[in-house]
Symmetry: C2
Subunit: 195 residues, 2 copies
Amino acid sequence: MDNKKIQEERMKRYFIQATKKILKGEGLKAVNVRTIAKEAGYSYATLYNYFKDIKDLVFECVKDFQSECKEIVDLEAKGTQRGVSRIKKISSSFMKYFVQYPGIFELFYLEKTYDLGHKKPTINLIYSFLDSLCEQDWNYCLDKKIFSESEIEIKKEALRNVTVGVLLFYLNRYNPPKYDEFIKLTERQINYVFK
Amino acid sequence: MDNKKIQEERMKRYFIQATKKILKGEGLKAVNVRTIAKEAGYSYATLYNYFKDIKDLVFECVKDFQSECKEIVDLEAKGTQRGVSRIKKISSSFMKYFVQYPGIFELFYLEKTYDLGHKKPTINLIYSFLDSLCEQDWNYCLDKKIFSESEIEIKKEALRNVTVGVLLFYLNRYNPPKYDEFIKLTERQINYVFK
DNA sequence: TAAGTAAATTAACAGTGTTAATATATTTAA
DNA sequence: TTAAATATATTAACACTGTTAATTTACTTA
């Protein structure tokens, strides 16, 4: 029964597509089994034939959003010279993606995950996402001996924390209150990681 | 009618005390109008005579927790020499407070705040909390010309972001997975802000 | 084509936040 | 001091959410 598998995957995709649409549009607060099912064109109970619970479904969107974000970031960073400059460019582009879609930021970093066991891979994907976006350039820095391995480790960590930290305050705590201040802060803080 | 005011404040305090207890114990997920009211010894509807909604009540706890946190941090940092060393000490102590009470971290940084207008002061209190804990020492650094004003500004920002960033990953995304790794990461990242 | 299986839907329940209707205290004025 | 007026608290009820159970519909296959 390979058809069964194909059909099941298709159904899952309908629900995932619906969830993604709502998440990007009205945000996480608008995501619930009934709105998703309606958007997907099914009854809300049908959803439970394909997903353990709604968190499960919602976290299944992560990979897609990461792909989308990566595409945008790669496009935006294209042309920037390899190494530190491009890491900076990627980082600020990465942040702008979440400013454009605050619901996706919530999903990646704020949404609770009782039942860790099953979602551990997704959680790790989220944790290392920025690193993976910059991978090439970190390797470049290592090859060219711009930074040592341990320096890179520290800078990766710092970048991870600073990007998400700034976003958290901006998107969830309205600080700084204006977008252009947010941009300045972002530039300043990303630069500070490298000096 | 000054009695009215006193009595009203007293009632508010009962509910706030109850909320704090639950928040520190079972965490934010266990906080709801019915558990709070039960703990306070009133019916859940009574709560609405004193608070606009449950978010309002929950955010009223912030000040108390900040006081408590400050006490603990001050005690722990006492004896550490003024300036950078003490800023580091305060920062890691600040972080440990939230590790001890993850529910309070959620309240401070993760909890959503529709109706910004009314809660703006609390939100700002949260934003500048670490700065205020370190205020003396930042001033010391400025007086002794250890850092310039603009350097201090950048370092304050960096510290704010790195502390909350590390906590977010540790408490909400289980990374690093072990406490001792978290501690090492914390030390490393706080130090990195100052070099 | 009818029986058996799979899938989807409707109904129902439990846990939230919130408001309305009702009951109980308390205060005030005759 | 007591009856009316006011303030406060409680119970009932509703809306919204996640989830499961019962039922119906669709599909497969003998």
